[in-house]
Symmetry: C2
Subunit: 260 residues, 2 copies
């Protein structure tokens, strides 16, 4: 057993907290943080670049045997006091399992035959973004494009992806122009998801070949201009109270129709 | 303007806190609490039995004109200090709009022709239950049965229904036997949602006549015995990483297929 770290001034602990709190620091260091047994296990299993594994004394005793079986040649393991664990934890019932992980290099999108994609345009709620990534992974969506949305590497998004962040192809695109260029060059048909009874019904519009559906901001939907630039506008026909469908749920139903 | 209440010992404030904290108190008084402008507006619009409308001084100034246009003959309005509002608020960014509301009498289920229902069996996450109710409202599901699930009237469930709790028919059933009896007497075909590639695919099984889909607990799914008592077992065919589909999202896709 290593020395138990108790000081909040330990440089790794200070780094962890900076990365947890600030997008700017995450970008600068090219690192982000993980908290929780399952997601740290996922990171190790999917061979994410885990630079530091941080366990409380209690977590070391409970989960150490299991976690230390992973390939940790490039990972430094730290054991910290339970008090320090509670201090850096984002939840009140922490398992005491933390990691610092490298942000993967952005790869150029690869477009599969009949590839099915979703574009998150201006989504701001971390829980929604995480749930969409998780659902995309379950349904077998080929890739997710994010443009003007909240930071993928914020602790809240990462937590709510439940590990799917390590399995899905996720592309962060800087501008609307670049987004349309990339999709066009990939031969992808684009559909804007809108709430409008005049738009094509997703149950009738037919998805063949490479397809991407654009999901807009929780409160405002897609900007009119983005919607116009898409090849068509599609809508989920609803029998009940419109506006009751949350963005993640709407995205889930659209991805389901894309993949069926 | 009424007197501004500043004391945490005010009997209505004490009642609000008791109802907020405890299911037992909610059952005993037959009351539950609401927080937030939109859900309180929904309650007033849908003619829920709002016994007390509680506004902070700030909320009274901002939203008073709008809220006080509702029919408040059976509602007592209280104005409280902003400090007291922060004290009883469940969120750190409260709007200062609160209400105490009567739990509606449980009505006997009414089964429509081709009625489509969802059964929440043992769901424990308030956010999931709220999101399912909200989605059911959007998609036009005819009723929701809850059995062995978390308390519908907990502040977290109520908040995440976003007002749909006042629009959906929700039936709380005390036991498994009673649940199957009620559905059988209503001529409802029952389908257990399971993760099992041998079960009937929801895309192929066909939903005709009165139909109910059972959704199980987030971690454990439906008890085997409940699944056996259902007329059939259905599954969502997945192309990706199974177990990635959250219970609310699975319920959303199943309700979508039920209503299409």
């Amino acid at each position: 057993m290593e020395n138990i770290i108790t000081s909040k001034d330990n440089p790794v602990i200070k780094l962890y907290q900076k990365l947890s709190d600030s997008k700017k620091e995450r970008l600068q260091y090219g690192l982000f943080v993980l908290e929780g047994l399952r997601i740290v296990e996922d990171a190790l299993r999917e061979e994410a670049r885990v630079s530091h594994l941080i366990l409380t004394k209690q977590a070391f005793d409970r989960f150490g045997d299991e976690l230390l079986q992973a390939d940790l040649r490039d990972t430094k393991t730290l054991v910290i006091s339970n008090e320090l664990g509670n201090r850096i934890a984002s939840t009140s019932t922490t398992q005491g399992v933390f990691a610092i992980c490298g942000i993967p290099e952005m790869k150029a999108p690869v477009f599969a035959d009949n590839g099915r994609y979703v574009v998150l345009f201006g989504l701001q709620d971390p829980g929604n973004v995480g749930m969409i990534i998780r659902t995309a992974d379950a349904l077998g969506i080929d890739g997710i494009f994010m443009c003007g949305s909240c930071d993928l590497y914020s602790p809240k998004v990462i937590r709510s992806t439940m590990g799917s962040v390590f399995r899905e192809n996720i592309y962060i695109i800087g501008s609307e122009d670049e987004l349309f260029e990339v999709l066009k060059s990939g031969g992808v048909m684009t559909s804007a998801a809108v709430i409008d009874t005049d738009a094509e019904k997703v149950t009738e519009c037919g998805f063949t070949g490479r397809q991407a559906v654009f999901i807009g901001n929780e409160g405002n939907g897609l900007p009119a201009e983005v919607s116009r630039r898409c090849d068509r506008r599609v809508t989920i026909p609803m029998n009940g109270t419109i506006n009751s469908l949350n963005a993640a749920m709407a995205a889930g139903i659209l991805m389901w129709e894309l993949k069926k």
